[in-house]
Symmetry: C2
Subunit: 384 residues, 2 copies
C-alpha cells in the first residue's frame, strides 16, 4: 500500500443556506480544495451524501457535481452510509490512492437539509434506523439515543447535567471557527434548562441538521511531490459495520463498529489511543460522544462522560475533541460531516487552527451512521 497525503482542503460555512442548492455547496468546496491543492484535474471523485434524494430530489449527484466542478467525464460515484457517508467516501478515496489505482482523488461530503419542513426532514433522518423493526414503531434517531442515554445514566448513576460539558466544550470551540453554525458559548445551566427533544435528550444534546460541504484532495507520495513534506498523511483507515437495529446488539452501550474500526485503524497506523493528540468524534448526541470515547479506548466503560466533566476533552485537556465545534456547534450537515472532520484535523495538524490550535502530531476522526451501524475511522499524521 502506498502512502496517502492530503494536499488540499475546502469547506463552505455550515449554515441554513436558503439560497444555495446541494450542487452549489458541493462545487464550492470542490473548487476551494482543488485551488488550494493547485490541481486542475483529478483521477476520480467520491461523494459522501446521505439524503440528497429524499431532501432535494437529486440522485446521481456524483456525476452532477463532477460536471459542474469542471471535471466532466471523470469517474465519480456517490457513497452512502447514513451519518457515516462522509467518512465512507474518505475511506474509498484513501483505498483508491493507497492501492495504486489512482494518483489524485477528490473526496467531497455534502448535505442540504434546510429545504424541507422539519417533519419531512425527520422522516428522512429515520431512514438511518432499521425501517422494519425500529422506524415502523415510531422510533426516531433521537428516541433511540434517548433509550441509550437513559440506560447509560441508570447503569453509571449519572444525571442529565453531567453530559452538558460535551456541549459547553463544543460551543466554546465553535466561537473561533468562522465556518461554524453556532458561534456562541453556552453554560451548563443553559444546557440543563434546554427543551427536551426525547427525554433525557434536549436540544442542547443534539447536533443541528444543517447545510454544508467539505472536500479534500488525496494524493500518492509521487503525485504530492515536494508538497508531501508539508501535508497531513493518512496513516490509518478502517470501516466496520454492526447490526443496524439497537435491539440486535448484545450490549447496546458498546459501539462495536466504532471499536472495531478504531482497533483496525490503530493497528494499521501502529499506534494506540495513548498516541492520539486530538479526536474529532461523531457528537451527534452527547451520549454518542461518551460512548465513542469508550469504544475507541480513551475511557473505561461508563467513564466517557467523566472525561468531559473533568475537562479532559477541552483544547488543553488530555484528548481534545470537537476542536472546531464538532457536529454539535459547527453543525451537522449529515453526509458532509465526515469530511469536515478531516478538513478540521488537517487545519490542526498544519498549525492553522487559529485560537483553537492544539499541539498535535497525530489526529483521529470517526464518522458514525445511525446508532452505530456503520463506523469509519481515520488517523492522520502531521508531516511537519
Amino acid at each position: 500500500m502506498r502512502k496517502v497525503y492530503i494536499v488540499g482542503v475546502g469547506q463552505t460555512p455550515v449554515r441554513e443556506h436558503w439560497d444555495r442548492s446541494v450542487r452549489d455547496l458541493a462545487v464550492e468546496s470542490m473548487l476551494l480544495a482543488m485551488d488550494e491543492a493547485d490541481r486542475g484535474g483529478v483521477d476520480a471523485i467520491f461523494v459522501g451524501n446521505a439524503l440528497s434524494g429524499e431532501l432535494t430530489g437529486q440522485e446521481q449527484i456524483a456525476a452532477l457535481v463532477a460536471d459542474f466542478a469542471g471535471q466532466t467525464g471523470t469517474e465519480a460515484v456517490r457513497v452512502e452510509a447514513a451519518g457515516a457517508s462522509g467518512g465512507a467516501a474518505v475511506r474509498l478515496g484513501y483505498l483508491a490512492v493507497a492501492s495504486g489505482i489512482h494518483d489524485t482523488v477528490l473526496v467531497t461530503g455534502v448535505e442540504k437539509m434546510s429545504d424541507l419542513p422539519g417533519p419531512l426532514v425527520g422522516e428522512a433522518l429515520v431512514t438511518s434506523t432499521d425501517e422494519e423493526y425500529e422506524a415502523i414503531h415510531g422510533l426516531s434517531l433521537d428516541a433511540l439515543y434517548a433509550l441509550l442515554m437513559h440506560r447509560y445514566m441508570h447503569d453509571y448513576d449519572l444525571e442529565r447535567r453531567d453530559f452538558g460539558h460535551f456541549s459547553v466544550d463544543a460551543h466554546r470551540n465553535a466561537v473561533n471557527n468562522p465556518h461554524a453554525m453556532y458561534r456562541r458559548p453556552i453554560s451548563v445551566d443553559a444546557f440543563e434548562r434546554a427543551k427536551l427533544v426525547a427525554d433525557p435528550i434536549s436540544l442542547l444534546d443534539s447536533a443541528p441538521a444543517a447545510d454544508g460541504a467539505a472536500s479534500v484532495i488525496l494524493c500518492s507520495e509521487q503525485a504530492a511531490g515536494d508538497e508531501s513534506g508539508s501535508c497531513a498523511e493518512i496513516i490509518g483507515s478502517a470501516l466496520a459495520t454492526d447490526a443496524v437495529a439497537l435491539h440486535d446488539r448484545p450490549n447496546p452501550l458498546f459501539l462495536r463498529a466504532a471499536h472495531e474500526s478504531a482497533r483496525e485503524a490503530y493497528a494499521r497506523a501502529g499506534v494506540g489511543p495513548e498516541d492520539i493528540d486530538i479526536f474529532e468524534l461523531h457528537d451527534a448526541f452527547t451520549i454518542l460522544a461518551a460512548l465513542s470515547l469508550e469504544a475507541c479506548g480513551f475511557a473505561e466503560e461508563g467513564r466517557g462522560a467523566h472525561l468531559a466533566m473533568e475537562g479532559e476533552i477541552a483544547l488543553e485537556g488530555r484528548i481534545p475533541i470537537s476542536t472546531m465545534g464538532g457536529l454539535k456547534a459547527r453543525g451537522y450537515p449529515m453526509g458532509a460531516s465526515g469530511v469536515y472532520q478531516i478538513v478540521e484535523l488537517v487545519q490542526q495538524l498544519r498549525g492553522e487552527a487559529g485560537a483553537n490550535q492544539v499541539d498535535a502530531r497525530l489526529g483521529m476522526a470517526q464518522s458514525i451512521g445511525g446508532t452505530g451501524g456503520t463506523a469509519v475511522t481515520h488517523i492522520l499524521k502531521s508531516a511537519q
Copy 2:
C-alpha cells in the same frame, strides 16, 4: 493489478415481490452467491442500490444486509449512481480485489420498487435527472428519452416500428429465463399498437420497474485457488460520467460516458468491439439500446436500430444482446440490474444459459444512469 475472478453468483427472480422486503431480496441473493462460491465469509461488501431511501424508507442498507446475511461487522458500503448503481458496485468490488486491498468481496445489487403507488415511484425515478434544470420542468426520464428518440427518428429517417425488434428480441429471450419477469413473446405488431407513455415511447419500449436482487463473489487468483480455471475473469472495468442534463451535452445522441467507459474497458482488456461475443446492455428504453450499440463501437452513428432490424442482436446474430431478457423483459430492478447483467454473462460464459446459450468467450456488460450521466462497463472472459 491482480486478476479478478467471479467464483459465485446468485439472483432472485425479478417480479413484483409484494411479500418481500428490500432486505429479504438482497440477503437471498447474497446467500445464494456465497453458497455457490462455497464461501462463508467475505472481506467486504459493496451494495448497489438506487432508491431504497425514497421507495422503502431504508438507508444505511449495506450494514443492514451485511448483518442479516451473517456478515455482521464486515466493511460494507452502498454505492449509488442512479440506474448504474449496480455496475458501480461491481466496479468498486473489482478495484478492491484487483488492487490487493481485499481477497474476497461480495457485490450485491438490489431494488424494491413495488411498495409505493406509481406516481410516487415516478417521483423517485426522476431524481436520476438534473433536478434544477430537468425535473423541475416536469421532464421525466421517459420524456427525456422520448426527446432523444424523436431526434434520432428525425435525423435517421426511422419509424417507431423500427425499434420494435429490440423488444421482440428481449421478450423472446426472457421466455427461457426462469428469473425473468415477462416470460412471453411479443410481436412487432403488438409493439406498434402498445400504449404510448411519452410519444414516441410506448409501454413496450420501456423496461418495467421491478423488485429483485443479484449478487456476485469476486476473488483474487490466490483466493479463487483451483477454481480459477472454471471461473469467469473480469479483464476490463471502467466508469465514466457525463453532464447529467441532456441539454448540457454537445451531441445528445452521443452517449459520451458509455463511449468513454467502453473505450477504457477495451483498452484494459486489450480487445475491441469486434472481439466481444455478447453484450448485456442497458435497454431501459429501445432508443437507449440503439445508442449504446453505437457508443460502444458495434454500429455506426444512426445504425444501432438497424442491427436489431437485421437480426444481428439475436442469439445467433453478430452481437447478441439482452440474452436472458435484458432490462426490458427480465425486468429492471433499478440498482440491481447492473449486477444481474454480470450474473447473466457468467451463466453464458460457463455454458449454463440453457436454451439461450451463446457460443461466447468474451462478454461485455454496460450499466447506465439517468440519460447517460454515468456509465460502467465490464468485460468478462471465460476461463474455460
